[in-house]
Subunit: 208 residues, 2 copies
DNA sequence: ACTGTGTGAAAACTCCGATTTTCGCTTGGA
DNA sequence: TCCAAGCGAAAATCGGAGTTTTCACACAGT
Protein backbone atom coordinates (compact mmCIF):
# COMPACT_ATOMS: atom_id res chain seq x y z
CA UNK A 1 0.00 0.00 0.00
CA UNK A 2 0.90 3.63 0.14
CA UNK A 3 1.77 3.21 -3.48
CA UNK A 4 1.54 6.33 -5.57
CA UNK A 5 1.29 4.36 -8.78
CA UNK A 6 -2.08 3.66 -10.32
CA UNK A 7 -3.52 0.35 -11.09
CA UNK A 8 -4.80 -0.27 -14.61
CA UNK A 9 -7.84 -2.27 -15.59
CA UNK A 10 -8.09 -3.56 -19.13
CA UNK A 11 -5.55 -1.05 -20.21
CA UNK A 12 -7.17 2.01 -18.70
CA UNK A 13 -6.35 3.56 -15.36
CA UNK A 14 -9.03 3.96 -12.74
CA UNK A 15 -9.23 7.64 -13.47
CA UNK A 16 -9.67 6.99 -17.13
CA UNK A 17 -12.53 4.65 -16.37
CA UNK A 18 -14.16 7.31 -14.24
CA UNK A 19 -13.70 9.95 -16.89
CA UNK A 20 -15.13 7.69 -19.55
CA UNK A 21 -18.20 7.03 -17.42
CA UNK A 22 -18.69 10.71 -16.79
CA UNK A 23 -18.34 11.37 -20.48
CA UNK A 24 -20.92 8.77 -21.33
CA UNK A 25 -23.30 10.20 -18.75
CA UNK A 26 -22.96 13.63 -20.27
CA UNK A 27 -23.65 12.22 -23.71
CA UNK A 28 -26.68 10.39 -22.40
CA UNK A 29 -27.81 13.58 -20.70
CA UNK A 30 -27.59 15.52 -23.93
CA UNK A 31 -29.49 12.83 -25.77
CA UNK A 32 -32.22 12.25 -23.22
CA UNK A 33 -32.75 15.75 -21.84
CA UNK A 34 -32.74 16.93 -25.42
CA UNK A 35 -35.41 14.51 -26.54
CA UNK A 36 -37.45 13.27 -23.58
CA UNK A 37 -36.87 16.37 -21.50
CA UNK A 38 -35.38 16.74 -18.06
CA UNK A 39 -38.48 15.79 -16.10
CA UNK A 40 -39.11 12.95 -18.46
CA UNK A 41 -35.86 11.10 -17.88
CA UNK A 42 -35.08 9.19 -14.74
CA UNK A 43 -31.64 8.57 -13.36
CA UNK A 44 -32.12 4.93 -14.16
CA UNK A 45 -32.75 5.75 -17.79
CA UNK A 46 -29.74 7.99 -17.83
CA UNK A 47 -27.62 5.20 -16.46
CA UNK A 48 -28.89 2.50 -18.76
CA UNK A 49 -28.31 4.51 -21.92
CA UNK A 50 -24.90 5.54 -20.65
CA UNK A 51 -24.02 1.98 -19.70
CA UNK A 52 -23.18 3.13 -16.21
CA UNK A 53 -24.44 1.55 -13.02
CA UNK A 54 -26.33 3.72 -10.59
CA UNK A 55 -23.60 3.08 -8.08
CA UNK A 56 -21.11 4.76 -10.36
CA UNK A 57 -23.56 7.45 -11.24
CA UNK A 58 -23.43 8.73 -7.70
CA UNK A 59 -19.68 8.55 -7.85
CA UNK A 60 -19.70 11.18 -10.60
CA UNK A 61 -22.70 13.34 -9.86
CA UNK A 62 -24.65 14.10 -6.72
CA UNK A 63 -27.95 14.01 -8.60
CA UNK A 64 -29.70 14.38 -11.92
CA UNK A 65 -29.68 18.14 -11.74
CA UNK A 66 -25.90 18.19 -11.70
CA UNK A 67 -25.85 16.30 -14.98
CA UNK A 68 -28.26 18.76 -16.51
CA UNK A 69 -26.19 21.73 -15.44
CA UNK A 70 -23.00 20.12 -16.69
CA UNK A 71 -24.58 19.45 -20.06
CA UNK A 72 -25.90 22.96 -20.16
CA UNK A 73 -22.52 24.40 -19.34
CA UNK A 74 -21.03 22.38 -22.17
CA UNK A 75 -23.52 23.92 -24.52
CA UNK A 76 -22.97 27.46 -23.34
CA UNK A 77 -19.23 27.11 -23.56
CA UNK A 78 -19.52 25.61 -26.97
CA UNK A 79 -21.63 28.44 -28.30
CA UNK A 80 -19.74 31.17 -26.53
CA UNK A 81 -16.43 29.63 -27.54
CA UNK A 82 -17.36 29.58 -31.20
CA UNK A 83 -18.55 33.15 -30.99
CA UNK A 84 -15.34 34.33 -29.34
CA UNK A 85 -13.34 32.44 -31.90
CA UNK A 86 -15.21 34.23 -34.66
CA UNK A 87 -14.50 37.53 -32.95
CA UNK A 88 -10.75 36.98 -32.99
CA UNK A 89 -10.70 36.83 -36.76
CA UNK A 90 -13.42 39.38 -37.52
CA UNK A 91 -12.32 42.80 -38.69
CA UNK A 92 -12.78 45.86 -36.55
CA UNK A 93 -16.24 46.88 -37.53
CA UNK A 94 -19.05 46.44 -35.07
CA UNK A 95 -21.66 45.31 -37.55
CA UNK A 96 -19.41 42.68 -39.08
CA UNK A 97 -18.27 41.45 -35.70
CA UNK A 98 -21.78 41.23 -34.32
CA UNK A 99 -23.07 39.27 -37.27
CA UNK A 100 -20.07 36.96 -37.40
CA UNK A 101 -20.26 36.10 -33.74
CA UNK A 102 -24.00 35.63 -33.95
CA UNK A 103 -23.63 33.31 -36.88
CA UNK A 104 -21.06 31.21 -35.06
CA UNK A 105 -23.28 30.92 -32.00
CA UNK A 106 -26.29 30.16 -34.12
CA UNK A 107 -24.57 27.29 -35.86
CA UNK A 108 -23.91 25.45 -32.65
CA UNK A 109 -27.64 25.17 -32.15
CA UNK A 110 -28.59 24.58 -35.75
CA UNK A 111 -26.11 21.74 -35.75
CA UNK A 112 -27.65 20.22 -32.65
CA UNK A 113 -31.09 21.53 -31.69
CA UNK A 114 -31.03 19.39 -28.57
CA UNK A 115 -28.70 22.02 -27.17
CA UNK A 116 -31.32 24.59 -27.89
CA UNK A 117 -34.02 22.66 -26.16
CA UNK A 118 -31.88 22.16 -23.11
CA UNK A 119 -30.81 25.77 -22.88
CA UNK A 120 -34.17 27.33 -23.65
CA UNK A 121 -36.52 24.94 -21.95
CA UNK A 122 -35.18 22.09 -19.91
CA UNK A 123 -32.86 24.09 -17.73
CA UNK A 124 -35.45 26.71 -16.89
CA UNK A 125 -37.13 26.66 -13.52
CA UNK A 126 -35.53 23.42 -12.41
CA UNK A 127 -34.51 24.75 -9.01
CA UNK A 128 -33.37 28.00 -7.43
CA UNK A 129 -29.76 26.90 -7.74
CA UNK A 130 -30.15 25.99 -11.38
CA UNK A 131 -31.87 29.27 -12.04
CA UNK A 132 -28.96 31.10 -10.52
CA UNK A 133 -26.48 29.25 -12.69
CA UNK A 134 -28.57 29.99 -15.71
CA UNK A 135 -28.47 33.67 -15.01
CA UNK A 136 -24.73 33.52 -14.49
CA UNK A 137 -24.25 31.87 -17.84
CA UNK A 138 -26.41 34.42 -19.51
CA UNK A 139 -24.44 37.13 -17.78
CA UNK A 140 -21.27 35.81 -19.37
CA UNK A 141 -22.80 36.07 -22.81
CA UNK A 142 -24.18 39.50 -22.10
CA UNK A 143 -20.79 40.66 -20.93
CA UNK A 144 -19.19 39.70 -24.23
CA UNK A 145 -21.80 41.59 -26.21
CA UNK A 146 -21.51 44.57 -23.93
CA UNK A 147 -17.75 44.70 -24.29
CA UNK A 148 -18.11 44.49 -28.01
CA UNK A 149 -20.41 47.48 -27.98
CA UNK A 150 -18.11 49.48 -25.75
CA UNK A 151 -15.16 48.67 -27.96
CA UNK A 152 -17.09 49.98 -30.93
CA UNK A 153 -17.80 53.18 -29.07
CA UNK A 154 -14.11 53.48 -28.25
CA UNK A 155 -13.36 53.10 -31.94
CA UNK A 156 -15.81 55.88 -32.62
CA UNK A 157 -18.12 53.67 -34.65
CA UNK A 158 -21.24 54.44 -32.69
CA UNK A 159 -22.49 56.75 -29.99
CA UNK A 160 -22.33 55.65 -26.35
CA UNK A 161 -25.45 53.93 -25.06
CA UNK A 162 -26.68 51.45 -22.51
CA UNK A 163 -25.37 48.24 -23.98
CA UNK A 164 -26.45 46.08 -21.11
CA UNK A 165 -30.12 46.36 -21.95
CA UNK A 166 -29.35 45.94 -25.60
CA UNK A 167 -27.26 42.86 -24.98
CA UNK A 168 -29.97 41.26 -22.86
CA UNK A 169 -32.53 42.14 -25.47
CA UNK A 170 -30.39 40.68 -28.20
CA UNK A 171 -29.98 37.43 -26.35
CA UNK A 172 -33.70 37.23 -25.68
CA UNK A 173 -34.63 38.08 -29.24
CA UNK A 174 -32.16 35.70 -30.82
CA UNK A 175 -33.03 32.80 -28.58
CA UNK A 176 -36.72 33.44 -29.12
CA UNK A 177 -36.39 33.36 -32.87
CA UNK A 178 -34.21 30.29 -32.80
CA UNK A 179 -36.63 28.49 -30.53
CA UNK A 180 -39.44 29.30 -32.89
CA UNK A 181 -37.38 28.10 -35.81
CA UNK A 182 -36.84 24.79 -34.05
CA UNK A 183 -40.54 24.03 -34.29
CA UNK A 184 -41.06 24.93 -37.90
CA UNK A 185 -41.78 21.99 -40.11
CA UNK A 186 -39.92 21.78 -42.31
CA UNK A 187 -37.24 23.97 -40.81
CA UNK A 188 -36.31 26.85 -43.08
CA UNK A 189 -32.70 26.85 -44.27
CA UNK A 190 -30.06 28.25 -41.99
CA UNK A 191 -29.43 31.15 -44.35
CA UNK A 192 -32.89 32.51 -43.76
CA UNK A 193 -32.40 32.37 -40.02
CA UNK A 194 -29.03 34.02 -40.32
CA UNK A 195 -30.47 36.80 -42.40
CA UNK A 196 -33.35 37.45 -40.03
CA UNK A 197 -31.13 37.42 -36.97
CA UNK A 198 -28.53 39.61 -38.59
CA UNK A 199 -30.92 42.41 -39.38
CA UNK A 200 -32.34 41.96 -35.93
CA UNK A 201 -28.98 42.34 -34.27
CA UNK A 202 -28.13 45.39 -36.29
CA UNK A 203 -31.44 47.02 -35.57
CA UNK A 204 -31.24 46.39 -31.86
CA UNK A 205 -27.85 48.00 -31.84
CA UNK A 206 -29.16 50.91 -33.84
CA UNK A 207 -26.96 50.12 -36.81
CA UNK A 208 -29.65 49.77 -39.42
CA UNK B 1 -85.90 14.97 -6.12
CA UNK B 2 -85.54 15.78 -9.78
CA UNK B 3 -85.67 19.33 -8.60
CA UNK B 4 -84.09 21.82 -10.95
CA UNK B 5 -83.71 24.33 -8.12
CA UNK B 6 -80.43 24.59 -6.29
CA UNK B 7 -79.78 24.11 -2.66
CA UNK B 8 -78.05 26.89 -0.80
CA UNK B 9 -75.54 26.48 1.97
CA UNK B 10 -74.90 29.40 4.25
CA UNK B 11 -76.37 31.69 1.68
CA UNK B 12 -74.32 30.55 -1.28
CA UNK B 13 -75.39 28.06 -3.90
CA UNK B 14 -73.35 24.94 -4.48
CA UNK B 15 -71.98 26.39 -7.68
CA UNK B 16 -70.94 29.53 -5.87
CA UNK B 17 -69.05 27.46 -3.34
CA UNK B 18 -67.29 25.64 -6.11
CA UNK B 19 -66.40 28.83 -7.89
CA UNK B 20 -65.11 30.36 -4.69
CA UNK B 21 -62.89 27.37 -4.05
CA UNK B 22 -61.53 27.47 -7.56
CA UNK B 23 -60.88 31.16 -7.18
CA UNK B 24 -58.98 30.59 -3.94
CA UNK B 25 -56.95 27.84 -5.55
CA UNK B 26 -55.98 30.15 -8.38
CA UNK B 27 -54.98 32.82 -5.90
CA UNK B 28 -52.93 30.32 -3.95
CA UNK B 29 -51.35 29.15 -7.19
CA UNK B 30 -50.32 32.67 -8.09
CA UNK B 31 -48.90 33.23 -4.63
CA UNK B 32 -47.04 29.94 -4.28
CA UNK B 33 -45.88 29.32 -7.82
CA UNK B 34 -44.79 32.92 -7.88
CA UNK B 35 -42.71 32.64 -4.73
CA UNK B 36 -41.79 29.02 -4.04
CA UNK B 37 -41.92 27.98 -7.65
CA UNK B 38 -43.97 25.28 -9.33
CA UNK B 39 -41.75 22.36 -8.38
CA UNK B 40 -41.46 23.71 -4.90
CA UNK B 41 -45.14 23.66 -4.04
CA UNK B 42 -47.09 20.52 -3.34
CA UNK B 43 -50.79 20.09 -3.86
CA UNK B 44 -51.18 19.83 -0.14
CA UNK B 45 -49.56 23.22 0.30
CA UNK B 46 -51.74 24.65 -2.41
CA UNK B 47 -54.81 23.33 -0.66
CA UNK B 48 -53.86 24.49 2.79
CA UNK B 49 -53.15 28.05 1.73
CA UNK B 50 -56.33 28.07 -0.32
CA UNK B 51 -58.35 26.60 2.56
CA UNK B 52 -59.57 23.88 0.27
CA UNK B 53 -59.55 20.18 1.05
CA UNK B 54 -57.73 17.86 -1.30
CA UNK B 55 -61.00 16.21 -2.03
CA UNK B 56 -62.36 19.44 -3.42
CA UNK B 57 -59.11 20.16 -5.15
CA UNK B 58 -59.65 17.21 -7.45
CA UNK B 59 -63.16 18.39 -7.99
CA UNK B 60 -61.81 21.54 -9.61
CA UNK B 61 -58.55 20.49 -11.22
CA UNK B 62 -57.21 17.18 -12.47
CA UNK B 63 -53.74 17.95 -11.14
CA UNK B 64 -51.27 20.63 -10.14
CA UNK B 65 -50.26 21.35 -13.69
CA UNK B 66 -53.79 22.38 -14.56
CA UNK B 67 -53.66 25.02 -11.84
CA UNK B 68 -50.39 26.32 -13.17
CA UNK B 69 -51.73 26.59 -16.68
CA UNK B 70 -54.89 28.28 -15.47
CA UNK B 71 -52.87 30.83 -13.53
CA UNK B 72 -50.64 31.35 -16.49
CA UNK B 73 -53.57 31.87 -18.77
CA UNK B 74 -54.93 34.46 -16.37
CA UNK B 75 -51.66 36.31 -16.62
CA UNK B 76 -51.45 36.17 -20.38
CA UNK B 77 -54.99 37.35 -20.77
CA UNK B 78 -54.42 40.10 -18.30
CA UNK B 79 -51.37 41.40 -20.11
CA UNK B 80 -52.74 40.90 -23.57
CA UNK B 81 -56.06 42.40 -22.53
CA UNK B 82 -54.43 45.56 -21.22
CA UNK B 83 -52.37 45.84 -24.38
CA UNK B 84 -55.40 45.46 -26.62
CA UNK B 85 -57.26 47.97 -24.53
CA UNK B 86 -54.42 50.43 -25.00
CA UNK B 87 -54.52 49.80 -28.72
CA UNK B 88 -58.19 50.74 -28.99
CA UNK B 89 -57.47 54.24 -27.76
CA UNK B 90 -54.06 54.77 -29.34
CA UNK B 91 -53.87 56.96 -32.42
CA UNK B 92 -53.05 55.53 -35.81
CA UNK B 93 -49.32 55.73 -35.73
CA UNK B 94 -47.33 52.54 -35.45
CA UNK B 95 -44.68 53.88 -33.11
CA UNK B 96 -47.20 55.31 -30.69
CA UNK B 97 -49.34 52.21 -30.78
CA UNK B 98 -46.40 49.90 -30.24
CA UNK B 99 -45.11 51.83 -27.27
CA UNK B 100 -48.51 52.25 -25.70
CA UNK B 101 -49.36 48.59 -25.95
CA UNK B 102 -45.95 47.64 -24.66
CA UNK B 103 -46.33 49.94 -21.70
CA UNK B 104 -49.71 48.48 -20.81
CA UNK B 105 -48.37 44.94 -20.98
CA UNK B 106 -45.32 45.90 -19.02
CA UNK B 107 -47.34 47.34 -16.19
CA UNK B 108 -49.17 44.12 -15.56
CA UNK B 109 -45.85 42.53 -14.65
CA UNK B 110 -44.35 45.48 -12.85
CA UNK B 111 -47.46 45.52 -10.72
CA UNK B 112 -47.10 41.85 -9.89
CA UNK B 113 -43.71 40.29 -10.67
CA UNK B 114 -45.04 36.92 -9.61
CA UNK B 115 -46.80 36.88 -12.95
CA UNK B 116 -43.46 37.40 -14.60
CA UNK B 117 -41.84 34.58 -12.75
CA UNK B 118 -44.65 32.23 -13.62
CA UNK B 119 -44.69 33.15 -17.28
CA UNK B 120 -40.94 33.29 -17.81
CA UNK B 121 -39.78 30.49 -15.58
CA UNK B 122 -42.26 28.30 -13.81
CA UNK B 123 -44.34 27.40 -16.79
CA UNK B 124 -41.37 26.49 -18.94
CA UNK B 125 -40.52 22.86 -19.55
CA UNK B 126 -43.17 21.53 -17.22
CA UNK B 127 -44.48 18.96 -19.66
CA UNK B 128 -44.96 18.55 -23.39
CA UNK B 129 -48.57 19.60 -23.03
CA UNK B 130 -47.68 22.68 -21.03
CA UNK B 131 -45.02 23.59 -23.52
CA UNK B 132 -47.56 23.39 -26.29
CA UNK B 133 -49.93 25.67 -24.45
CA UNK B 134 -47.13 28.08 -23.80
CA UNK B 135 -46.33 28.32 -27.47
CA UNK B 136 -49.99 28.83 -28.26
CA UNK B 137 -50.19 31.71 -25.84
CA UNK B 138 -47.10 33.24 -27.29
CA UNK B 139 -48.56 32.81 -30.73
CA UNK B 140 -51.56 34.87 -29.69
CA UNK B 141 -49.31 37.71 -28.60
CA UNK B 142 -47.21 37.45 -31.72
CA UNK B 143 -50.32 37.57 -33.86
CA UNK B 144 -51.38 40.86 -32.33
CA UNK B 145 -48.00 42.43 -32.96
CA UNK B 146 -47.91 41.06 -36.46
CA UNK B 147 -51.31 42.48 -37.28
CA UNK B 148 -50.25 45.80 -35.91
CA UNK B 149 -47.28 45.83 -38.24
CA UNK B 150 -49.32 44.84 -41.24
CA UNK B 151 -51.84 47.53 -40.45
CA UNK B 152 -49.04 50.07 -40.39
CA UNK B 153 -47.89 48.87 -43.78
CA UNK B 154 -51.44 49.20 -45.07
CA UNK B 155 -51.47 52.78 -43.79
CA UNK B 156 -48.26 53.36 -45.66
CA UNK B 157 -46.28 54.10 -42.51
CA UNK B 158 -43.56 51.56 -43.17
CA UNK B 159 -42.31 49.25 -45.85
CA UNK B 160 -43.54 45.64 -45.93
CA UNK B 161 -41.40 43.19 -44.04
CA UNK B 162 -41.46 39.88 -42.21
CA UNK B 163 -43.26 40.89 -39.05
CA UNK B 164 -43.46 37.42 -37.66
CA UNK B 165 -39.77 37.25 -36.91
CA UNK B 166 -39.83 40.76 -35.60
CA UNK B 167 -42.77 40.05 -33.35
CA UNK B 168 -41.15 36.96 -31.92
CA UNK B 169 -37.94 38.87 -31.41
CA UNK B 170 -39.77 41.68 -29.70
CA UNK B 171 -41.47 39.31 -27.30
CA UNK B 172 -38.18 37.60 -26.52
CA UNK B 173 -36.32 40.84 -26.07
CA UNK B 174 -38.96 42.46 -23.91
CA UNK B 175 -39.42 39.45 -21.69
CA UNK B 176 -35.69 39.07 -21.33
CA UNK B 177 -35.21 42.64 -20.23
CA UNK B 178 -38.14 42.48 -17.85
CA UNK B 179 -36.85 39.28 -16.33
CA UNK B 180 -33.49 40.86 -15.80
CA UNK B 181 -35.13 43.89 -14.24
CA UNK B 182 -36.93 41.64 -11.79
CA UNK B 183 -33.63 40.64 -10.23
CA UNK B 184 -32.13 44.07 -9.89
CA UNK B 185 -31.82 45.23 -6.35
CA UNK B 186 -33.15 47.77 -5.92
CA UNK B 187 -35.36 47.62 -8.96
CA UNK B 188 -34.93 50.67 -11.17
CA UNK B 189 -38.08 52.76 -11.60
CA UNK B 190 -40.64 51.71 -14.14
CA UNK B 191 -39.92 54.76 -16.26
CA UNK B 192 -36.43 53.54 -16.99
CA UNK B 193 -37.72 50.17 -18.06
CA UNK B 194 -40.34 51.78 -20.22
CA UNK B 195 -37.77 53.95 -21.90
CA UNK B 196 -35.39 51.11 -22.59
CA UNK B 197 -38.13 48.87 -23.92
CA UNK B 198 -39.62 51.61 -26.04
CA UNK B 199 -36.42 52.32 -27.90
CA UNK B 200 -35.96 48.62 -28.21
CA UNK B 201 -39.36 48.10 -29.76
CA UNK B 202 -38.87 50.93 -32.19
CA UNK B 203 -35.46 49.71 -33.23
CA UNK B 204 -36.62 46.15 -33.78
CA UNK B 205 -39.36 47.46 -36.00
CA UNK B 206 -36.88 49.64 -37.83
CA UNK B 207 -38.56 52.83 -36.70
CA UNK B 208 -35.56 54.42 -35.03
C1' DA C 1 -2.20 -19.36 -6.76
C1' DC C 2 -3.73 -15.51 -3.47
C1' DT C 3 -5.27 -11.04 -2.14
C1' DG C 4 -6.90 -6.16 -3.15
C1' DT C 5 -9.50 -3.29 -5.47
C1' DG C 6 -12.69 -2.06 -9.05
C1' DT C 7 -16.66 -3.39 -11.80
C1' DG C 8 -21.57 -4.12 -13.57
C1' DA C 9 -26.01 -5.63 -12.40
C1' DA C 10 -29.61 -5.97 -9.35
C1' DA C 11 -31.96 -5.84 -5.06
C1' DA C 12 -33.44 -3.28 -1.17
C1' DC C 13 -34.57 0.59 1.16
C1' DT C 14 -36.68 5.15 1.76
C1' DC C 15 -39.18 8.79 1.06
C1' DC C 16 -42.38 11.97 -0.59
C1' DG C 17 -46.15 13.47 -2.84
C1' DA C 18 -50.23 12.43 -5.54
C1' DT C 19 -54.72 10.44 -5.45
C1' DT C 20 -58.59 8.14 -3.23
C1' DT C 21 -61.51 7.18 0.49
C1' DT C 22 -63.47 7.56 4.93
C1' DC C 23 -65.86 9.97 8.61
C1' DG C 24 -68.33 12.93 11.43
C1' DC C 25 -70.52 17.52 11.20
C1' DT C 26 -73.57 21.15 9.22
C1' DT C 27 -77.20 22.81 6.38
C1' DG C 28 -81.66 23.00 4.04
C1' DG C 29 -85.79 21.07 2.67
C1' DA C 30 -89.66 17.77 3.46
C1' DT D 1 -87.91 15.78 13.31
C1' DC D 2 -85.61 13.24 9.65
C1' DC D 3 -82.98 12.67 5.51
C1' DA D 4 -80.09 13.75 1.65
C1' DA D 5 -76.49 16.58 0.12
C1' DG D 6 -72.44 19.11 0.84
C1' DC D 7 -68.70 20.25 3.76
C1' DG D 8 -63.75 20.14 5.99
C1' DA D 9 -60.31 17.43 7.84
C1' DA D 10 -57.72 13.50 8.09
C1' DA D 11 -56.46 8.84 7.14
C1' DA D 12 -55.28 5.29 3.95
C1' DT D 13 -53.57 3.89 -0.27
C1' DC D 14 -50.46 3.96 -3.94
C1' DG D 15 -46.75 4.51 -6.97
C1' DG D 16 -42.64 6.23 -8.67
C1' DA D 17 -38.07 7.68 -8.31
C1' DG D 18 -33.99 8.63 -5.81
C1' DT D 19 -30.43 6.62 -3.06
C1' DT D 20 -27.92 3.00 -0.75
C1' DT D 21 -26.26 -1.54 -0.39
C1' DT D 22 -25.25 -6.14 -1.69
C1' DC D 23 -23.16 -9.63 -4.53
C1' DA D 24 -20.51 -12.27 -7.61
C1' DC D 25 -17.05 -11.70 -11.00
C1' DA D 26 -12.72 -9.76 -13.25
C1' DC D 27 -8.35 -8.03 -13.21
C1' DA D 28 -3.65 -6.57 -11.49
C1' DG D 29 0.12 -7.24 -8.62
C1' DT D 30 2.92 -10.29 -5.46
Amino acid sequence: MAEGNERRYSGRSVQEWKDARRERLLDAGLALFGSEGYQGTSIERLCSTAKVSTRHFYQEFPNKEAVLLAVHEQGVQLGLGKALEALTTAEESIDVRLVDALRAYLHTIITDPRRGRIAFVEVVGVSPAAELRRREFREAIVAVIEEEGNAAVARGEMPPQDFRHLAIALVGAVNGVIYDWMFEDPRPPAEELEAALSTLALRIFGLA
